[in-house]
């Protein structure tokens, strides 16, 4: 996954943990800081690409081409600065995917208004997780594993190629289970770009170009993906 590039703005309270975690997950992490002490700490923690910039100045931000990064993650300690940074980045790089981390409800709203594509509210997701642990402990643990991509069973999205054997068939008519995978949902191009779960109760016609999301063993998923490109079998 080394082709995945992310820039993290801020190496403070939350930033350092997120940076370390993402680094462990095998992503290429670039850190941008405006505070000298945090900058030094990032260096000391072994990150190679660390920049010290005044993030409030557009000129400074322009020096680095942030458009090459897959994601820009804003986690400045100062919430005012974080909102300002999100706003600056949005105005400078219209197409960038900006992900901001917030730690309170009010800031979440402001970050969204500032143009963040996605705002992760640290405490909201954690609070959700507590609920999940309390209500459905087994499902939560298993799902974590699926989502983390680390164990055998995982999710995978695949695009149905042209002339695939499933092309033109109804989703209900295909026995996914016999391939060792389960269909979770799909993006049906005919019906717009929203994600539809199979459990919504509507049978979809599978066409080439649709994206389907399956769950299953990693190897089985791979095998199924190659199988998809075959014509009739």
């Amino acid at each position: 996954m080394s082709d995945k590039n992310i820039a993290i703005f801020g190496y403070g309270n939350h930033g350092r943990f997120i940076a370390k975690g993402l680094h462990e997950d095998g992503l290429r992490v670039t850190i941008v800081e405006s505070d000298k002490t945090f900058y030094k700490e990032a260096k000391a923690d072994g990150f190679e690409e660390v920049f010290l910039l005044d993030v409030t100045k557009d000129d400074a931000l322009k020096k680095i081409d942030f458009a090459v990064f897959n994601k820009l993650v804003c986690v400045m300690d100062d919430e005012h600065l974080n909102v300002f940074l999100t706003l600056s980045l949005r105005s400078l790089f219209q197409d960038a995917y900006i992900l901001s981390v917030s730690d309170s409800l009010n800031v979440t709203k402001k970050l969204k208004m500032a143009g963040a594509n996605k705002v992760i509210d640290l405490y909201e997701v954690s609070a959700n997780k507590i609920y999940n642990i309390l209500e459905k402990p087994v499902a939560t643990r298993l799902l974590e594993n699926f989502a983390n991509n680390r164990e055998g069973i995982t999710f995978r999205e695949m695009v149905i190629p042209e002339n695939s054997f499933v092309d033109g068939k109804m989703a209900d008519d295909i026995d996914f289970a016999s391939y060792g995978v389960l269909l979770v949902g799909m993006i049906d191009v005919e019906l717009g770009h929203s994600f539809v779960f199979v459990t919504a109760g509507i049978s979809h016609k599978l066409d080439s170009g649709d994206t389907i999301v399956c769950i299953g063993d990693k190897e089985k998923l791979k095998a199924f993906e190659t199988l998809l490109s075959k014509k009739e079998n």
Binding site: M1, K4, I6, H14, F17, I18, K20, G21, L22, D25, L27, N70, K71, V73, D103, I120, D121, L122, Y123, E124, V125, S126, A127, N128, K129, I130, Y131, N132, I133, L134, K136, P137, V138, A139, L142, L143, E144, A147, N148, N149, G152, I153, F155, R156, D172, A177, G180, L182, L183, V184, G185, I187, F195, F197, V198, T199, A200, G201, T211, V213
Partner: protein, 514 residues
């Protein structure tokens, strides 16, 4: 004689049924967690109330004989039995004898049975002289028929109620706390009453036709100082009137003083009393959740648009945060969750306790975890970990589940980067917000689907996606459709909430016929 007593003591010491019976009696009388104590308490309260009712009714109306017998014999016998039980469980005479005998043997000195028995009996006597024991004894007395005056002692039965009502006990506790102030005031009161009573007697006994004895003088002083002032005795001389003016003023001052002492004692204790009540109420539930710390995470926990847990309690050391929580409408108390005393108040043996350590300090969270686990291994602890380096320490401390806010965020960022399409789906599934709920179905022994093959369950027509089974800790993904459901399996199923609920209710508890 010595020999016989000793062998009886030995026999009781060895008899497990004797110990069991005694323990049961002790539980019944004192342990508020005992299942039967409530019924026992209610019976006693009913007996007291009915007995007093009969006493009052009797004054003007003839009472049927059976009712009279019930009052005199049945109630009294029950009370006598209760009194004896209390006396019996107060201490263990047989144990004391055995211990003394063993000690004497060990030290090779002479064994004096008399001394031990004397000691044991003096302990019993000490108990008999406590106010509550005296009330118990007096409550039995009305059973003695020849002395009708003893009927009045039925009123002592009312005092028995004190033991069975907690609020009055707490009131007494509060009063006892202010013993010093109240005793000082009482002493002052007695002093004033006696001096002015004696004064009026000396000054007016020969001039005032209403004052004959010293008792009249003291009676007048009390009636006056209490500001009741019946007016049946009133001073006739100027000096006597001057005395009454003085003691009326003293009386007003003293009454307000006493009132303020009691009120302040209550306001000091109010928080504690409230806390006590809250914990007591909680302990009645089968499962409770204790949230430690009222910070961002706790606030968020409650802001989720889901059903709030009903039996929860927020605990924080900081009174400001507790007030904030109460202001936000939650049940919160100010207490230190890392203290043994605090957590011991919760009934860990009868309720399932889940502790959520949500403070922003790892040190604090670890300490609370250890504290909870030291009270009972049964307490489930879910702890927030701020620094991933501490994860191991939390595992050693025995936390059941760990929650790393940064890690959760990491997972989401990671998914957002590696699986952009999936991101929304996974996010939706993880947060349980959308139509795609992943839920688990716990199969218990009497569950209707036990022994059924998966194909018979027909998940598809229920619009559910069956993902797999967790069995004995291992997860079986997409098992073959001929797989048979076993008791204690956990089925992982995805679908809309209503489909899941419908499926669950359809199979829940129904006995599989055929």
């Amino acid at each position: 004689m010595n020999h016989i007593l000793l062998s009886i003591a030995l026999y009781l010491h060895r008899s497990s049924s004797y110990k069991k019976t005694k323990q049961f009696a002790r539980d019944l009388l004192f342990n508020s967690n005992n299942r039967y104590k409530r019924y026992f308490d209610m019976t006693i309260i009913f007996l007291v109330i009915s007995s007093v009712f009969i006493l009052v009714y009797e004054v003007k109306h003839p009472v049927p004989a059976w009712l009279d017998n019930y009052d005199i014999y049945f109630v009294s016998v029950v009370f006598a039995v209760e009194y004896l039980l209390r006396l019996w469980v107060h201490n263990d005479v047989s144990e004391m004898i055995i211990k003394e005998y063993n000690d004497a043997n060990f030290l090779a000195k002479e064994f004096h049975l008399n001394l031990v028995i004397k000691k044991a009996l003096s302990e019993k006597l000490k108990y008999m002289l406590t106010p509550s024991a005296i009330v118990d004894l007096l409550a039995i007395l009305p059973a003695y028929r020849p002395l009708r005056i003893l009927r009045v002692f039925i009123l002592f039965r009312v005092f028995k109620l004190l033991r069975y009502t907690k609020s009055i006990n707490q009131f007494v506790d509060v009063i006892v706390n202010k013993k010093f102030e109240l005793l000082t005031l009482l002493f002052l009161l007695v002093f004033i009453v006696f001096t002015s009573g004696i004064g009026i007697y000396i000054l007016e006994a020969d001039k005032n036709p209403q004052i004959h004895t010293l008792f009249d003088g003291i009676y007048w002083a009390i009636v006056t100082i209490s500001t009741v002032g019946y007016g049946d005795i009133s001073p006739v001389t100027d000096v006597g009137r001057a005395i009454s003016v003085l003691i009326i003023l003293a009386g007003i001052a003293m009454i307000s003083f006493v009132t303020s002492v009691i009120v302040s004692a209550f306001s000091e204790k109010l928080g504690e009393l409230k806390e006590h009540r809250i914990i007591e109420q909680l302990n009645k539930n089968r499962s409770i959740i204790i949230l430690c710390g009222y910070g961002q995470l706790t606030k968020m926990f409650f802001r989720q648009k889901r059903e709030h847990p009903s039996n929860y309690l927020i605990m924080d050391k900081d009174i400001n945060r507790v007030n904030a929580a109460i202001k936000d409408g939650y049940v919160a108390i100010q207490d230190d969750a890392s203290s043994f005393q605090t957590l011991r108040k919760f009934d860990a043996t009868h309720c399932e306790i889940t502790m959520l350590c949500m403070t922003s300090s790892d040190v604090e969270n670890i300490y609370i975890t250890l504290n909870a686990k030291s009270i009972s291994k049964k307490i489930k602890v879910i702890s927030r970990v701020n620094d991933p380096e501490n994860v191991n320490k939390f595992h050693y401390a025995g936390a059941d589940e760990l929650l790393l806010p940064h890690k959760v965020a990491n997972t989401m960022i990671y998914t957002a980067i590696t699986q952009p399409t999936m991101y929304k789906a996974i996010h939706a599934i993880l947060t349980g917000k959308s139509i795609a709920n992943i839920d688990e179905i716990h199969v218990h022994q009497s569950h209707g689907i036990v022994d059924m093959p998966i194909e018979a369950l027909d998940f598809k027509s229920h619009k559910l996606l069956f993902i797999g089974i967790e069995r004995n800790g291992a997860f079986i993904f997409n098992p073959p459709s001929s797989e048979v459901i076993q008791p204690f399996d956990v089925l992982l199923v995805m679908g809309r909430k209503i489909s899941l609920e419908y499926f669950k209710s359809k199979h829940e508890g129904s006995i599989n016929v055929g």
